[in-house]
C-alpha cells in the first residue's frame, strides 16, 4: 500500500485542477455567492473538529475541540444560509415565460 500522505497529495492535486476548471466557468454575477458558498465548503474541517471532541479526556484537548466545533459550525451554517439568502434574490429574466 502507498503511504496515505502520498495518496492525499495525489487527491489534493487532482481536486485543485477540478476546482480551477469549475470556478473558471462561474460568471462574475455569481462571484459573491460563489465565495460564501465555497467558504461554507471549507467548513468541512468540522469533520476533524467532531473527531477531535472524542480523542481524549484532556481539558486542553476538550477546550480546543469545543472551540473548533463552534467555529466550524459558524462557518458551515452561516455560509450555506447566507449563500441561499443571496441566491434567492437573483431574479429570473423578465421576458422568460412570455415566449
Amino acid at each position: 500500500m502507498l503511504d496515505p500522505v502520498v495518496v492525499g497529495v495525489v487527491v489534493f492535486v487532482l481536486a485543485s485542477f477540478i476546482g480551477f476548471e469549475l470556478i473558471t466557468k462561474v460568471p462574475p454575477t455569481l462571484h459573491t455567492p460563489l465565495m460564501s458558498g465555497s467558504n461554507a465548503i471549507s467548513g468541512i474541517t468540522i469533520v476533524g473538529a467532531i473527531i477531535a471532541t472524542g480523542i481524549e479526556n484532556d481539558l486542553l484537548a476538550a477546550s480546543l475541540a469545543f472551540l473548533a466545533v463552534g467555529s466550524a459550525t459558524i462557518n458551515v451554517v452561516g455560509g450555506f444560509l447566507v449563500t441561499d439568502r443571496m441566491l434567492g434574490m437573483f431574479r429570473r429574466p423578465r421576458r422568460e415565460g412570455r415566449e
Binding site: M35, N39, L60
Partner: protein, 456 residues
C-alpha cells in the same frame, strides 16, 4: 461501518461539493447547487458521527453555539456588509482548522513522525494566519479600523523576520519535540496574520478576502492530511483553487500584481497630492433635461459604483429603470469587477433591488455595447470609467481595464462634486465634450429624475 464504506461515503460528500460548485456556475441552478453542497456536508457530518467516539457534551455545546451564531449572522446581515461577513466566516474556518490540528497535537503521545508534524504545522500556521488576517480585514471593512494602510518603519523587515521565526519554530518543534516551540509557532502565525493585513488599504480588500478565502481552504486541506480524510482534502483543494482564481481576477481588474497589493500599501492618504487638473469647461445638466434624454434613448447603460449602494439608492434606481423600460428604452447595467467591496458584490446589491440578472453586463460585454448606446448614466463610479487608464501612460492607474463610457453618444455623470475619487486621480471624462455633469447625491438625483420623468 467499515473504513472502506466510510471512505467511500466521504468521497460521495466530496462529489456533492463538486456538483454543487458546478451548479453555482449558472444563476438558474446556483441555489440548488448550494443545497447539494450543504447535503454533502450533512452526509460527511453524519458519517463522522456514526463511527467516532465523540464527546456529546463538547460537541453539542459547540455545535449549538456555532449554529445560533452562524444563523443569526447569516440572516441579519445587510447586503452591503457581505464582504466583512465573508471575511469573518473565512476567519472562523481557518481558526477551526488550526484548532483541530492543535487538539491532535496535544493528544499525540510519544514522538511525532516528521510528515505528521509537518501537516500539523501547516494546519496551524495557515489556519492561524487566516484567522487573525480575516479579523483585521473584518475590522477594516466594518470601519472598526481605519481603511487606510497602517505602515511604520521597518514593517517589511519585521514581517520577514516573523516569517523566518515561523519556519524556525516549526523546524525546532519537530526536531526538539518541544511543545513550547509548537505553541510559539502558533502565536507567531496569529501575529503574522495581523501584521500582513494592516498595511493593505480598504480599497484592496476584495483581493485580500479572496486570498483569505483560498487560505481557509488550504488550511482545511492541511487538516485533511492530519486526520487522513479525503473529504477535507478535496473540499479544501476546491476552495483553495476557487479563492486563487478570484484573487487573480481581482488583481487583473485593478492591473496590479498580487505582491503590489499585499506589500504596496496602496492608497496612502499622505502625500497623495491631487494630480494636475486636466482643466477645461464642465457642462452641467438638470434632472429635467436628463429625463428627456433618457426617455428618447434606444439604449441606456447604467454604470453603478459603490457609492450608490452605500446611499441605498439601488431601489430608486430600479424605479427609474422600470419607468424607462415601460417607454421602450432598453436599460442595462455595466458592472466593473471592482465596483463593489468584494468580487461580484455589486451584482448582489442590484439583485437585492430586484434587477434581473440578465441585465447585468460584465466589463467586456458592456464595452462592446457602448458604441451603440445613446446615454450612459454613471452613478457613484469614478476611477473605473477614467479614460486616462487607457490613454495616459503617466497616470497611476494606466493599464487598468475600464468601462469605456466615452464611446457612447452622451455620458451623464451623477456626482456630488468635482472631487477626485479614492485614488486621488483627476478624471478627464468630466471635461469631455460628450459629458454632462449632474451635481447631486445619487439618491436625490434619482428621486428628482423619477419626478421629472412623470412630466416627460
Amino acid at each position: 461501518m467499515s473504513p472502506e464504506v466510510q471512505a467511500l461515503l466521504y468521497l460521495l460528500a466530496a462529489v456533492a461539493f463538486i456538483i454543487g460548485l458546478r451548479r453555482l456556475g449558472s444563476p438558474r441552478t446556483a441555489r440548488s447547487g448550494n443545497a447539494v453542497a450543504a447535503v454533502g456536508m450533512l452526509l460527511a457530518v453524519v458519517v463522522t458521527l456514526v463511527d467516532s467516539e465523540v464527546s456529546w457534551v463538547v460537541l453539542g455545546a459547540g455545535a449549538a453555539v456555532g449554529a445560533v451564531v452562524g444563523a443569526v449572522l447569516a440572516l441579519r446581515v445587510q447586503m452591503t456588509a457581505m464582504p466583512q461577513l465573508v471575511a469573518a466566516f473565512n476567519g472562523f474556518g481557518g481558526l477551526a482548522s488550526a484548532l483541530v490540528a492543535g487538539a491532535v497535537y496535544v493528544t499525540v503521545t510519544g514522538e511525532i513522525e516528521t510528515v505528521e508534524m509537518l501537516t500539523i504545522l501547516l494546519s496551524v500556521g495557515i489556519g492561524g494566519i487566516t484567522f487573525t488576517g480575516s479579523l483585521v480585514a473584518y475590522a477594516k471593512l466594518q470601519g472598526l479600523l481605519s481603511g487606510s494602510p497602517i505602515t511604520y518603519p521597518g514593517q517589511k523587515t519585521l514581517n520577514a523576520a516573523l516569517l523566518v521565526g515561523l519556519l524556525t519554530a516549526g523546524v525546532w518543534s519537530q526536531t526538539s519535540q518541544d511543545p513550547l516551540a509548537f505553541w510559539g509557532m502558533g502565536v507567531i502565525s496569529l501575529v503574522l496574520g495581523v501584521l500582513l493585513v494592516i498595511p493593505i488599504g480598504g480599497a484592496d480588500m476584495p483581493v485580500v478576502i479572496a486570498l483569505l478565502n483560498s487560505l481557509s481552504g488550504l488550511a482545511a486541506a492541511a487538516t485533511g492530511f492530519v486526520i487522513e480524510n479525503s473529504a477535507l482534502i478535496i473540499g479544501g483543494a476546491l476552495v483553495g483553487a476557487s479563492g486563487l482564481i478570484l484573487t487573480k481576477l481581482m488583481t487583473e481588474a485593478m492591473n496590479r500584481s498580487l505582491a503590489n497589493v499585499l506589500f504596496g500599501a496602496f492608497g496612502t492618504g499622505e502625500g497623495a497630492a491631487p494630480a494636475a487638473s486636466a482643466g477645461g469647461d464642465v457642462r452641467t445638466t438638470t434632472p429635467g433635461d436628463l429625463a428627456v434624454a433618457l426617455s428618447y434613448a434606444n439604449r441606456v447603460v447604467i454604470v453603478p459604483g459603490y457609492g450608490l449602494a452605500v446611499a441605498q439608492a439601488q431601489h430608486q434606481l430600479r424605479e427609474v429603470a422600470d419607468e424607462l423600460e415601460r417607454r421602450g428604452v432598453e436599460v442595462v447595467y455595466g458592472i466593473h469587477p471592482v465596483a463593489g467591496r468584494m468580487p461580484g458584490h455589486m451584482n448582489v446589491l442590484l439583485a437585492e433591488a430586484e434587477i434581473p440578472y440578465d441585465r447585468l453586463l460584465d466589463l467586456d460585454d458592456t464595452n462592446s455595447v457602448l458604441s451603440r448606446t445613446d446615454v450612459v448614466l454613471v452613478l457613484g463610479a469614478n476611477d473605473v470609467v477614467n479614460p486616462s487608464a487607457r490613454d495616459d501612460a503617466e497616470s497611476p492607474i494606466y493599464g487598468m481595464p475600464i468601462i469605456e463610457v466615452d464611446r457612447a453618444r452622451t455620458v451623464v455623470v451623477v456626482k456630488r462634486s468635482m472631487s477626485p475619487g479614492f485614488a486621488g486621480i483627476d478624471n478627464p471624462l468630466f471635461y469631455d465634450e460628450g459629458t454632462l455633469m449632474l451635481f447631486a447625491d445619487a439618491k436625490k438625483a434619482l428621486a428628482d429624475l423619477t419626478v421629472a420623468l412623470e412630466t416627460v
